[in-house]
Symmetry: C2
Subunit: 427 residues, 2 copies
């Protein structure tokens, strides 16, 4: 009566999804719209920075040799032959005994090899200054290329654009920025129990929260969510909707109907679509009933209707595909370790992913499970910064033990977090 | 000749900015556009979750007492009197010896007090099942309110909306979400040396990178950047532009012209605007020439033209005002500790803020200065996840020492990070 499914290990399930080819694409956006997007090409310096020897201060450009022997009792007097405002240059060469007034960032004039800060100068008139100490050649000069040499690769493609990257893009003239095209991810909620968010509650019904939650997860991962609405439990309607959606989006996700009950249509939809089923059960909690199929190179994710199972299924299986589509070399959730801030007494026959909040005590990560850890729980997701990974076959964990965690609010990622997930031990 | 300025300690400078009143405002946006925005009101449960006793599995709802004594050799047979699909309810009461087929999430029918999973049932016909073990009352029931009680405050205002918060908003019917109005932050770059990003380089000139960088910083902090262009070093033009800008934006930032050179007009602009100068020098590196004024309740930030000084000035002084305008109770950069991954031999006569990249080794933060630590450097900003705070009056730091850090890519924040900034010690 009940279909038997063989659970696949998490790492194999993730690998089977990653084996499906997905070629990243790029587009150009104006620099001012590029914050938070992902670089589609390496950012390369097209010129030295600074692009000329320049003054780091407001002051006077001098020939260092002119200052030899200057001291408090024996100031050296120099003749001011010009002034260089920011953005202007001094034509000609500065001769012995001469100096030029110079602004921060301005180009050092020919003949000069040092800068005296304004604060160390006595200005006798517009044409004469004196200085009371000696300077060496190269004092107070920002040299051409000292920050960056032309041709340097500064930021790798696949990097999320932060304010510092923006500064570099501006410096190197990227008025239009090559960024990864955001994959379009269709989201289809199934289940006759679903109400729209604006509808009042009715007996036996719940509001559709998974679709909106996943739309936010898609945005966080860098994709473009396409909300395709709710469908009742009707195989034909669901199959038609899925077929239609696959023409409009790059990746399709459904929530609900992935289990083995009478109204769980995901296996039948995959059959109708002539899709290859990569797996339909994973040896993990929550999210064991996650089903993933592939049809003509497109991925179809049939996630659980339980909010937390849906949440975890997205982060483990959908996110890495999205990040790879954004040129990331580290498409998976970033893995590190943390100390458990409270007991977690449940045994773990299968790999368990516990939604948890991350804190730090003087630079050490501490995690605590966020609220009620049931797969039907919606409130615990709001406080979740990380997923704690408790390997299958382990007994309960105690406060103070070291655990593996996957970070949800991070754009750096991991290359492959699924090796060396460690069983319980005291830190 | 040169104006004397008295440097203010960082904490006093930040406090003087925070003393200026700024009343947060709110607006409503559709749920699907709310990801990444900040809640303007506490999110409160308007109903219990679950809102009724429901089944966590596909199976059969039974009266537990009917299963008393059932075992492998003595199965109990029950009469199937109905079926509850998701979203439907069973009218009437289930009598002794009766059972109802039930789907995951459906409401437990009257009379029943336990659920038997489909896998543990033998279905003889549409009308008859048998079970081979006994169940206790309340077995496999998700009780009304077990996740969340009506009236619970679930997420505090000032919280950035993540996917889990989105799920809660959907569950509680927030089709429109009250979010903080993003403060409009005007950005005006001054300096005759500035080229537009699309312009080719010319001798003595550089492209305007600070304005775009700060626009991204404003976005990261949750504000709305308004790019107001570049202005040459012309006092009248700059003053007019500032006056005009203050009518259009909530907060105004200029970059450049904040020092004490001939072309540094910020003090004069503030005078023309009849603004109160909160400070014009801060005992820190970089960013010592940061000037902040207030006019009719509006803040005017005169940040340095040096990219790194501008960057640091924004994060220390502008960001907390923006976060407070977004209802945050922890408006400052989040402070924690990290281990220094390399030597930092420079002495620190003033508090030094070092742009650094954050990594972690098994749950311990490790930081390394990001590239060349000069205030004119632009490349080092791209790799900066954190600012290391080295207190004034300390000598060089060695690899392995513990240092205070401020986290740039974090939305949780600190209430007040400026106490207990510690001097050098070994961890």
């Amino acid at each position: 009566m009940v279909e038997k499914r063989k659970p696949m290990a998490v790492r194999e399930a993730v690998q089977s999804v990653m084996n499906v080819e997905y070629t990243p694409r790029q587009e150009y956006v104006p620099l001012e719209n590029s914050y938070g997007r992902v670089l589609a090409e390496d950012l390369v310096a097209d010129h030295d920075v600074p692009s000329f020897d320049r003054s780091p201060y407001d002051g006077f450009a001098i020939r260092a040799e002119d200052s030899a022997g200057a001291n408090r009792n024996n100031p050296v007097h120099l003749h001011v032959v010009g002034e260089i405002g920011a953005g202007t240059v001094f034509d000609g060469e500065v001769k012995p005994g001469q100096t030029v007034r110079i602004m921060t960032g301005a180009k050092i004039p020919a003949g000069c090899d040092a800068v005296v800060m304004l604060e160390l100068v006595h200005e006798h008139s517009d044409e004469e200054i004196s200085i009371k100490r000696s300077f060496s050649p190269n004092d107070n000069i920002s040299f051409q290329g000292e920050d960056t040499k032309k041709g340097s690769s500064l930021v790798a493609k696949g990097t999320t654009i932060n304010p510092g990257v923006t500064a570099l893009l501006a410096t190197f003239g990227y008025a239009e920025v090559p960024v990864a095209l955001r994959p379009r991810v269709g989201i289809l909620a199934t289940g006759s129990e679903l109400l729209e968010v604006h509808e009042p509650l009715k007996p036996g019904k719940i509001r559709n929260s998974n679709a909106y939650m996943m739309a936010a997860q898609v945005e966080r991962a860098g994709g473009e969510p396409v909300l395709l609405g709710n469908l009742p439990d009707d195989l034909e309607a669901c199959t038609e909707a899925a077929k239609d959606a696959l023409k409009k989006v790059d990746i399709l996700i459904t929530t609900g109907g992935a289990s083995v009950g009478d109204y769980d249509y995901v296996p039948n939809i995959l059959r109708e679509l002539k899709a290859t089923t990569l797996f339909n059960k994973v040896a993990m909690r929550p999210g064991s009933v996650t089903t993933v199929g592939e049809t003509n190179g497109q991925l179809f994710f049939g996630l659980s209707g339980n909010p937390s199972a849906c949440f975890v299924g997205f982060e483990l299986f959908v996110r890495p595909i999205l990040r790879r589509a954004l040129f990331s070399q580290k498409p998976h959730l970033r893995k590190t370790k943390a100390v458990l801030g409270m007991d977690f007494p449940k045994p773990n026959p299968f790999t368990r992913l516990v939604r948890a909040s991350l804190d730090d005590a003087d630079g050490h990560f501490v995690v605590e499970p966020a609220g009620l850890d049931k797969s039907g729980s919606v409130t615990s997701i709001a406080g979740a910064d990380v997923l704690i990974v408790l390997p299958g076959g382990t007994r309960g964990y105690e406060k103070g033990m070291s655990v593996d965690i996957l970070m949800l609010e991070d754009h750096k990622g991991s290359e492959w977090p699924w090796e060396n997930i460690v069983a319980s031990y005291r830190s």
